[in-house]
């Protein structure tokens, strides 16, 4: 029956399936569908680069044009993972260069990317169009120069939050005059100078440029010239926004901004004089996304004056200098808000965060469409969380971070179990959750009971006993990533359901109570898991004591066995 349709028809039908999950499901139906699907698959997403090898990728999907790879575990963002733990992209590029040269798009997150990798990309893929690097490191602007010089059809170069060395600073001038295809250029994270004249010329000749994010080295007068050349921009990241409001440049900038009626997304302001913000007022009404989280030193009053005009805002990233009062204004002005992130204005200081549960409650009351939250706050209460859960049942991502990791309910001094319980009970579509504050096993009972769609859970300093972790492993059927730090979960929890880990992408446990012996027996029992122990200190030398607690453990399912590129301090059991 399923062979009724010729392959070309099947392939055409499959071309309407864009989600990886749908395509994965389709490939399981029968051999014929598996083959049609695999030859027509253009985009592949690999959530853990060590789960599969590049050779197997290419042999299954020989026509892959777009590859997404993720490397280090999430907690690497917070310095909990060694710099050289792994996640090298070079082997992937090498393999693709030999076996799959029609690669057009590469998206990497938390990977180690060398200049040699970038040079190899530039040389090997004649149709290369799009490079997106998020939270990667290991490369310099020399690598970027190679990409700029050689990728004739480059459409997108998007660098987000990477640590990049800048020895020469001339990479921008490497775009040849014949390069006119750029639609998206984001170099906001680069620390060095750029050739401003080359930048202006590049913008002038790329008539399709829709997204441009500049770094701090682009001064306002150049920004003004760029905007005059590119009024078609949809997404703008201003670099430096510091000038004298009395000056001619500022006047010119104001005039040119008014003509940029296509801008829907604004970010940057890495250097800003708040008195210059009025230049942006004319475009506020069109904004759907505003990121001021890297803009230092803007007082709440000025932030509020700006945001108040952004009536169509759907996504707001802001610093906690906005305060609860400011959040109330956001709640009254931005009725379409879907995503809110409030960051600590001084992440290196363990002082007071400026927002509390009141700001969050106000937002939830004013913005019923809120579905994604990241909130760094000084304190929280169960009542507030219960109210938020009632007001906003549509949360997909809910990440709360209290300044003190085990702070209780600020009013009742009780654990925050009930508050988070309300969130998981009310938000039936919740996919990602980070909990914080004083929490007992109870909250995990609720999570296991109610969080049916949960895919990623982050736990820190929470729970009383193994039961907590077991509730989660038993209850959350769709769990993909579980990361736990500084919580009293031990061997019983780790070994309670070993088969579960093959249904998940990965498990991270650090500063918990799992021992070497338990990790070893897990590794023995489950050959399709890599169980890695990361030792940074002097703890284990030579033979390790089975009863000793493991400082950091990272396990993940894999089809290709232990990796060969782990540094000495990482043991695969």
């Amino acid at each position: 029956m399923v062979n009724y349709f010729p392959e070309e028809v099947l392939e055409h039908v499959f071309s309407f399936l864009t989600s990886h999950r749908d395509r994965n499901a389709v490939s399981l139906v029968c051999k014929s569908w598996y083959n049609v699907e695999r030859f027509s698959r253009g985009k592949v997403f690999i959530g853990n680069c060590y789960a599969i090898s590049p050779e197997r990728l290419i042999s299954r999907f020989p026509r892959v044009r777009s590859l997404t790879l993720k490397g280090k575990p999430h907690f690497a963002d917070f310095n909990l993972v060694l710099h050289d733990w792994g996640g090298y992209v070079y082997p992937w590029i090498e393999a693709m260069a030999k076996g799959c040269t029609n690669l057009e798009e590469l998206r990497l997150k938390r990977m180690l990317v060398s200049d040699a990798s970038l040079e190899l990309i530039a040389k090997s893929f004649p149709n290369f169009k799009s490079l997106v690097l998020v939270s990667c490191e290991g490369f310099t602007t020399d690598g970027l120069a190679a990409i700029a010089s050689n990728c004739r059809f480059l459409r997108e170069l998007d660098l987000q939050e990477n640590e990049v060395e800048d020895p020469r600073g001339q990479w921008l001038s490497c775009f040849p005059d014949s390069c006119t295809s750029l639609a998206s250029l984001n170099f906001a994270c680069l620390k060095g100078e750029v050739n401003l004249a080359a930048l202006e010329r590049l913008v002038a000749r790329c008539r399709n440029l829709k997204s441009l994010r500049l770094n701090h080295a682009v001064p306002p007068d150049v920004l003004q010239k760029i905007l005059a050349r590119a009024p078609q921009l949809v997404d703008l990241g201003a670099g430096s926004f510091v000038h004298d409001p009395e000056s001619e440049t500022y006047n010119k900038l104001k005039n040119v901004m008014q003509k940029c009626t296509s801008i829907r997304s604004l970010s940057g302001f890495l250097d800003v004089n708040a008195r210059c913000l009025p230049a942006i007022y004319p475009i506020c009404i069109n904004l759907s996304s505003l990121n001021l989280s890297y803009a230092p030193g803007i007082y709440s009053k000025e932030l509020v004056k700006l945001i108040r005009k952004c009536k169509k805002l759907q996504c707001l990233w802001i610093l906690d200098t906005i305060g609860d009062k400011g959040l109330r204004v956001v709640a009254s002005a931005c009725k379409e808000l879907q995503e809110l992130r409030v960051f600590k204005s001084d992440p290196n200081d363990v002082g007071n965060a400026a927002v509390t549960e009141e700001g969050l409650v106000a937002i939830s009351a004013g913005c019923p469409n809120l579905n994604s939250l990241l909130y760094f706050c000084r304190q929280m209460t169960n009542t507030a969380l219960i109210t938020v859960a009632k007001n906003c049942p549509n949360f997909i991502r809910f990440r709360l971070c209290t300044l003190d990791p085990i702070t209780p309910d600020a009013v009742t001094m009780q654990p925050l179990d009930n508050g988070f319980g309300a969130i998981v009970q009310s938000c039936k579509g919740l996919k990602r959750l980070s909990v914080s504050g004083l929490l007992t096993d109870q909250v995990f009972l609720y999570i296991g009971m109610y969080a049916e769609q949960l895919e990623m859970l982050s736990i820190a300093f929470a729970g009383n006993s193994d039961k907590g972790m077991v509730y989660v492993l038993n209850g959350c059927k769709k769990l993909k990533k579980l990361e736990i730090r500084d919580s009293p979960f031990g061997n019983m929890a780790l070994l309670a359901d070993t088969g579960k880990y093959e249904t998940m992408r990965s498990l991270w446990m650090s500063s918990c109570k799992v021992t070497f012996g338990a990790c070893k027996s897990l590794a023995e029992k489950m050959p399709r898991l890599n169980v890695e122990i990361i030792n940074e200190g002097d703890e284990m030398e030579g033979g390790s004591d089975d009863r000793q607690n493991v400082e950091k453990m990272y396990l993940y399912r894999t089809l290709v066995g232990p990796r060969k590129d782990a540094p000495d301090s990482v043991w695969t059991l």
Partner: protein, 196 residues
């Protein structure tokens, strides 16, 4: 919220079960005498003992969970605001026609045009040697002679202002100049036609 059953309410939530009690490292605050907990003490340093509310939580590794990239940006911004003070950078590049490399000066170091000329003269004296003295030796410290070079017809000091226009140095009050000067160029007199 009725979701909590009576049994759960009865369940003891004694903090002694939490095992994350914070005490002085190696001290009596460690629950159950469990030495393995001291591993956690490595990460947690706190002065409070058994208190549920500690307003002065000391630093915990990786908490609050802020991306290290974000932290480094903020650190740089903080440094810049502490050093710079004002909105505009005071260092400007100085080029002299014919000189093989450029220099940088901090305009905030000078109080007047004369001060600036003196400094520029010293910086570029090497390159004006051939032009201003018939002897083989050059008196580097002869400020007046150097200023003559600059004030004379051979070289003209010009600057690029915030609007990108090239202006002759000396027309506006010193403070205004400092606020609007982006770079300096000491032009050969012959090229400076039209600026004077």
């Amino acid at each position: 919220m009725d979701m909590i059953s009576k049994e759960h309410k009865k369940e003891k939530l004694g903090f002694e079960e939490t095992e994350l009690r914070l005490g002085l490292p190696g001290g009596g605050g460690i629950v159950n005498g469990d030495l393995e907990n001291s591993q956690k003490e490595k990460n947690l340093i706190s002065c409070s003992n058994d208190s549920v509310k500690s307003p002065h939580r000391a630093q915990v590794v990786g908490w609050p969970p802020v991306q290290s990239f974000r932290k480094s940006i903020v650190a740089v911004q903080k440094r810049n605001s502490e050093e710079g003070g004002g909105a505009a950078a005071s260092f400007v590049k100085v080029s002299m026609d014919g000189a093989p490399y450029l220099r940088k000066v901090d305009l905030n170091m000078y109080k007047s045009y004369q001060d600036l000329y003196g400094a520029l003269g010293k910086m570029f004296s090497f390159f004006t040697m051939g032009k201003c003295d018939s002897r083989g030796m050059m008196d580097f410290m002869n400020e007046r002679k150097l200023m003559d070079v600059l004030n004379g017809s051979d070289f003209v000091p010009t600057y690029e202002d915030k609007d990108g226009d090239w202006m002759l140095v000396g027309d506006v009050p010193w403070e205004t100049f400092v606020g609007s000067c982006k770079r300096l160029r000491i032009m050969k007199g012959t090229e400076a036609i039209g600026l004077g």
